[in-house]
């Protein structure tokens, strides 16, 4: 699969589009970007691109229909008595809801039928086998357009926002389509809200500063992917396929290595995506904010895949928590269990829906559902024990704001995340459970001493290169965590230094990037979602 880290994208597609964008007049730039985005999409998915056009048409038409309903409501309100206004609002709110529902049925319907049908039929067949009916349904092989899980959620965020009157419906079909098909974000996000559509449609001129910072960001992303994610790929492949041959220590290594690989692959790709957009002058939302500095699992999810978390918070968690039945329940529970445990009961219901959705969004499989439920359980358990931990710390004079305590929280959170990632990467839920059990039942470090450790497709030099680069990424993350704007600081350096930085980044990729014989680059993990 073509990835954002491929030679075709970085050295052919992106420079050609940048050049075309640079020389064209403003209006032509918009349609050139749209055409380029669909050319990119067509290259990746062929005629399946029509599903994307269908989703664009659906949300655009529903937006316009909502606009008409709202205009009719405003007209009715103008001539209504004060006592009638509430009823009028309720009547038209119902109509708006019907259009939002229709858009949801179409967009989620396409997503479910293309991506989840084989999973549902597989499970139905398993049920039929259990019931000894003797009947089995044929599992269809369905081709899915790239990035469908991303653009479906973005499209629905537009309809939800229009329905809530948070933004005006879009009259221009091409502006909406460019936002939904914008090529840098097509495969792996980040999820953009509709306010970015205006920014993209403005098609600013390319500026030297944006181009330079964008280029550095792209190179940093390529470094993350090629030095770490691709280099550890053979070890990860081996550990997750031949897990039965290894002891508990190696299972722990499998969890840590995949977590590292996923972070470097996904955040590296997002760096390339945001950097590509920045070269043109577009500012995309950040998707990572030093996730391994998180002190709790719930904080981790405000730092990792931020835009997905924000989507689930705004369109699932709060609407469910603020629904009339759950509000009533919150009130009752607060009276009975107090201010902490009362809302915990009701928000657990909303959180369950969020994490079920999150798990299923990542993939049609039980291991993904388990991944969602694992994080749901950790977040609820974390909230449940918080008052106990606070009183324990007060009793034993432990300063919860001290560095050692925060460090302990960060390491604990990172380890819990790594275990979750192991289930996420495992070939199935069953193998994930076996690998997890192996961590404890075969808890030795023998593989690290008998040489197995160095027979995973990575030699001593590979481990050293990965370790050194991880330390570099950690230092940059620490600087960012302390508020340092690294790219801005570098851009203030003299021209000679800036050119030297660019040359060093390119040289690092050429010298230490994992490519050529003996290396199989990791497939873009999130592009399959």
């Amino acid at each position: 699969m073509l990835s954002y880290c491929s030679v075709e994208y970085l050295l052919v597609f992106l420079p050609v589009v940048l050049f075309g964008y640079l020389i064209l007049p403003k209006t032509a730039r918009r349609y050139f970007l749209l055409l380029s985005s669909y050319a990119f999409f067509w290259y990746l998915s062929g005629p399946l691109v029509l599903w994307h056009v269908a989703a664009c048409l659906c949300v655009w038409l529903c937006g316009l229909a909502i606009d008409r309903v709202l205009a009719a409501r405003d007209e009715a309100l103008l001539s209504a008595e004060r006592s009638q206004k509430k009823a009028i609002r309720a009547k038209y709110a119902g109509k708006v809801r019907r259009w939002v529902f229709l858009a949801g049925v179409v967009c989620f319907g396409i997503l479910l039928s293309l991506k989840y049908t084989p999973f549902f039929i597989d499970n139905l067949n398993a049920l039929l086998r259990t019931l000894h009916t003797g009947r089995q349904l044929k599992v269809p092989s369905i081709l899915v357009p790239v990035g469908i899980s991303f653009y479906t959620l973005m499209a629905m965020s537009y309809v939800f926002d229009v329905g809530r009157e948070q933004r005006a419906p879009e009259k221009n079909f091409f502006r909406l389509t460019l936002w939904l098909a914008f090529f840098p974000t097509l495969m792996e996000g980040p999820f953009m809200r509709y306010d970015t559509a205006e920014q993209i449609w403005e098609v600013p001129r390319i500026k030297g500063e944006n181009f330079q910072k964008g280029l550095w960001r792209i190179l940093y992303g390529v470094l993350k992917k090629m030095i770490v994610a691709d280099r550890v790929n053979s070890a990860v492949e081996l550990l997750y396929t031949d897990f039965a041959s290894y002891d508990g220590g190696m299972m722990f290594l499998a969890a840590v290595l995949f977590t590292l690989q996923e972070y470097m692959e996904f955040s590296g790709t997002i760096d390339i995506v945001i950097g590509s957009a920045q070269c043109f002058g577009f500012v995309l939302p950040e998707n990572f904010n030093q996730p391994f500095f998180a002190k709790t699992i719930s904080e981790f999810w405000t730092r990792w895949h931020i835009t997905l978390g924000a989507w689930l918070r705004d369109y699932v968690f709060y609407p469910l928590s603020m629904s009339a039945p759950l509000k009533k329940l919150t009130k009752k529970c607060r009276a009975k269990f107090g201010n902490h445990y009362g809302p915990l009961v009701t928000s657990s219901i909303a959180l369950f829906a969020v994490w079920l959705f999150n798990g299923l969004w990542h993939g049609a499989g039980w291991s993904f559902i388990f991944f969602g439920m694992y994080h749901f359980a950790l977040i609820v358990a974390g909230s449940f024990v918080t008052p106990v931990v606070i009183s324990f710390c007060e009793k034993h004079h432990i300063n919860r704001r001290s560095f050692p305590y925060r460090l302990f929280q960060m390491i604990r959170t990172a380890l819990l995340v790594a275990v979750g990632e192991m289930f996420f990467r495992a070939l199935s839920l069953k193998t994930g459970l076996i690998m997890f059990r192996q961590m404890f039942t075969r808890a030795t470090l023998q593989s690290f001493t008998d040489g197995k450790f160095l027979k995973l497709g990575m030699d001593r030099q590979d481990y050293i290169i990965v370790a050194v680069f991880v330390v570099c990424v950690f230092v940059i993350s620490l600087l960012k965590e302390r508020g340092c704007r690294v790219l801005d600081a570098l851009y203030k350096k003299p021209m000679f230094i800036r050119c030297l930085i660019t040359a060093v980044l390119v040289a690092l990729i050429l010298l230490f990037g994992a490519y050529g014989t003996g290396y199989v680059p990791v497939d873009p993990i999130y592009a399959n979602f």
Binding site: R313, D314, P319, S321, M322, R334, N339, H340, P343, S347
Partner: protein
């Protein structure tokens, strides 16, 4: 406004709500506390806080919360 300060101090007494300006952005109030707070504010001020109003800008400080409450009371 005084009643708002009382409610906030009852919920989470460890912060100075006269000074804090980033209660959500700095992760001082989590989503559970915000839900409990909304439930209390709805009862106390006879308002309904719609889900779309639950954004950091409306809950980052006591002043921002008070602005939200007065706006919803007027509607």
């Amino acid at each position: 406004m005084d009643r708002l300060y009382e409610i906030l101090e009852e919920m989470q007494p460890e912060y100075d709500y006269h000074k804090e300006k980033a209660l959500i952005d700095d992760h001082l109030l989590d989503s559970l506390t915000v839900l409990a707070l909304i439930s209390e504010l709805e009862d106390e001020f006879d308002i309904t806080v719609p889900a779309v109003e639950i954004i950091p800008a409306n809950f980052n400080s006591a002043d921002a919360m008070w602005a939200l409450i007065t706006r919803l009371m007027e509607e």
